[in-house]
Amino acid sequence: MTEFLQQLINGLALGAIYALIALGYTMVYGILRFINFAHGDVFMLGAFAGLFFTPVVERVFPPQSYSGGLVVLLLAMAVCAGLGILIEMLAYRPLRNRPKLTVLITAIGVSLFIEYTCQHRLVFGAAPRKFPDLIPVKTWNVDLLVISSTQVIVFVTTLLLLVILRFIVQKTRMGTAMRAVSFNEQAAALMGVNINSIISFTFGLGSALAAAGGILFAMSYASIDPLMGVQTGLKAFVAAVVGGIGNLPGAALGGLLIGVIETFAGGIPGLSNYRDGIAFTILIAVLIFRPTGLLSKPQVEKV
């Protein structure tokens, strides 16, 4: 029982990070109907932004403090929001009216471009780096269970960001416009919605969440490298599809689900070497039995 609960805690902490990244995939898909494969790399850039901001922030705030950690998080989110908007403007906007496949392949190109540029020794270099301890790390022992402060913070931050995101999408003018564009781009444009700025905003928001995911991931696992976004990004993408691509709560649910199942699989001897395959097995199963994902309803398309 203890082992079960411990695995659940481990899984939820991992899943929370997948959820944050999955939200970015799903938001962009909801509006533009294509998968932004460079999203996992923005997640990586977020972690590296954190690495470079930490020494700067520590000059002003006490090292390893919650306030300092929060500032690093916000700075990384801001930088990545800017990068996300830039990527959209340079790579995707010129292809707005081309077939979706063209944009999709461009996204793969952007992803490879970021990964390999960052591996160059003049950029980040390919060797893994130690990520500094942003906040004081404590562990609590509840009976035989072990919970670390990092796990709690990861989970709380994710929940908080989810609530903020939901508020933005449901209650603000910007969110209303986003939903309008997602529903029908042309009609929204006719109603006076500035499509370009809405799309930029979506990319910025998604990339900021990816950066938050990157920082939380780096805080939990201490080592970061330019290819860290590949596998994690793929898993988060699977999470978005499992939950129902284009559906925000679905992405969060999918992320948690993948994280928990993966962790449990890791704990079973004989199954642990297939751990990375589990997410994709789930993806195949969902695509066969419920192609629209767990939470989204089948849509009727009028012809």
Partner: protein, 385 residues
């Protein structure tokens, strides 16, 4: 028309220049026979970058010393190095390039067994002798009679660690955590397990991970539940450091044991206090050794900004010495002759010990066990084969 004329005039000026360039190249081509080219493939960047860099620095030092002493067969040795980026697929590409485009007479590399295994068939096919500095999986030299190594192999290393766990640590309940992506890790785990069982110990949990993973908590929770007295983690340093951190976070506070894949300053840089008190086996320690190894440590520090050579640097150094010595004894750079000379290597004094190449083309040598104390590697004991 006027433009065409200008172009014509321009080419008149350029023509003698081009000719001069072509002629200028000729003597350089002719000089080719004055150097002996040796190829090296190493993981200079990527996940196992510190391995490749250490090994490379050792090799470079050896080649420079050999050249300073007059080279080999009256010729200068030129070392051509290619980076494998710690990735599968790269070794085949770069070794093919070294052999077919650069025309090297011998290949040195790599540290990681999986990548040596990728390059070995290519060297074998082209009849170019290959000497691996520190790939310990037995399969590497089984590829063919052109493939050699200057280090011990995993059956020995696995046995050494198992005996250490049973006898020195008095651990009877042991868990194994293997990297299923790496031939090195799987080999080491197998031989470790066999020896533990032979010693009357018990394997309480066997779990796997994929090299490059970041989250190991699922597996470690299961290992903790099995209540082991020691955990064998035959992985590479990045993974080992993350495993140590997460093991401590989960309250799994038993010693972790590893192989030579652990030896990198990154292990302590990333692992910090989590790797304190853990143990691993490796090829050599700068703390003990012959006069030759003391001289090596001094020269290495002079050449590479005061860094202390680790075991992989020493193995990289030895691999170059052994190959060049074989070329000297063969009196030729012809593949088959160098191969025969390599196979006949006997009682060769090297930094990591006395090297004799056995019938399996492996070096039989002693291993040392190190522990981590205050962020430093401390020598514990030497174990003879």
């Amino acid at each position: 028309m006027k433009r065409a004329l200008n172009l014509w005039r321009g080419s008149l000026v350029l023509a003698p220049l081009c000719l001069a360039l072509v002629v200028g190249c000729r003597p350089a081509d002719g000089k080719k026979s004055d150097v002996i080219k040796i190829g090296e493939f190493a993981s200079l960047t990527g996940k196992e970058a510190t391995f490749g860099q250490s090994s490379h620095e050792g090799t470079v030092l050896a080649i420079e010393e050999l050249n300073a002493a007059g080279g080999v067969l009256g010729k200068r040795i030129e070392l051509l190095t290619e980076d494998t980026q710690s990735k599968a697929g790269e070794p085949a590409t770069v070794v093919n390039k070294l052999i077919s485009r650069d025309g090297v007479v011998g290949i040195l590399g790599e540290v990681a067994s999986s990548r040596s295994l990728e390059a070995a068939p290519i060297c074998q096919q082209n009849k170019i002798p290959m000497v691996s500095p520190s790939s310990t999986n037995p399969k590497v030299t089984e590829v063919g009679d052109y493939i050699f190594r200057v280090c011990f192999i995993d059956p020995f290393q696995g046995t050494v660690m198992a005996n250490f766990a049973s006898r020195t640590l008095k651990a009877t309940r042991v868990a194994i955590f293997t990297d299923v992506k790496s031939d090195y890790s799987k080999g080491l785990a197998k031989f470790f397990k066999d020896q533990i069982l032979r010693n009357g110990g018990q394997i309480v949990a066997e779990l796997d991970f994929n090299g490059g993973d970041k989250d190991f908590k699922g597996q470690l929770t299961a290992i903790k539940a099995a209540n082991p007295e020691a955990v064998f983690v035959p992985g590479y340093y990045t993974d080992a450091a993350l495993i140590a951190i997460q093991a401590r976070q989960l309250g799994l506070n038993v010693p972790l044991l590893g192989g030579d894949g652990w030896e990198s300053e990154k292990l302590t840089e990333i692992g910090k206090e989590a790797v304190e008190g853990d143990y691993f086996s490796t090829h050599y320690s700068a703390e003990v050794g012959s006069d030759m190894s003391k001289a090596f440590v001094a020269n290495y520090q002079k050449r590479w900004q005061g860094r202390t050579p680790d075991a992989l640097a020493a193995c990289g150094y030895d691999s170059a010495l052994v190959l060049v010595d074989a070329i000297r004894r063969a009196g030729s750079t012809e593949g088959a002759k160098v191969r025969d000379a390599l196979a006949a290597t006997k009682d060769f004094k090297a930094v990591t010990g006395t090297i004799t190449i056995n019938a399996q083309r492996d070096a039989s040598k002693s291993a040392v066990i190190l522990t981590i104390r205050d962020g430093q590697y401390k020598y514990l004991e030497t174990i003879e084969p």
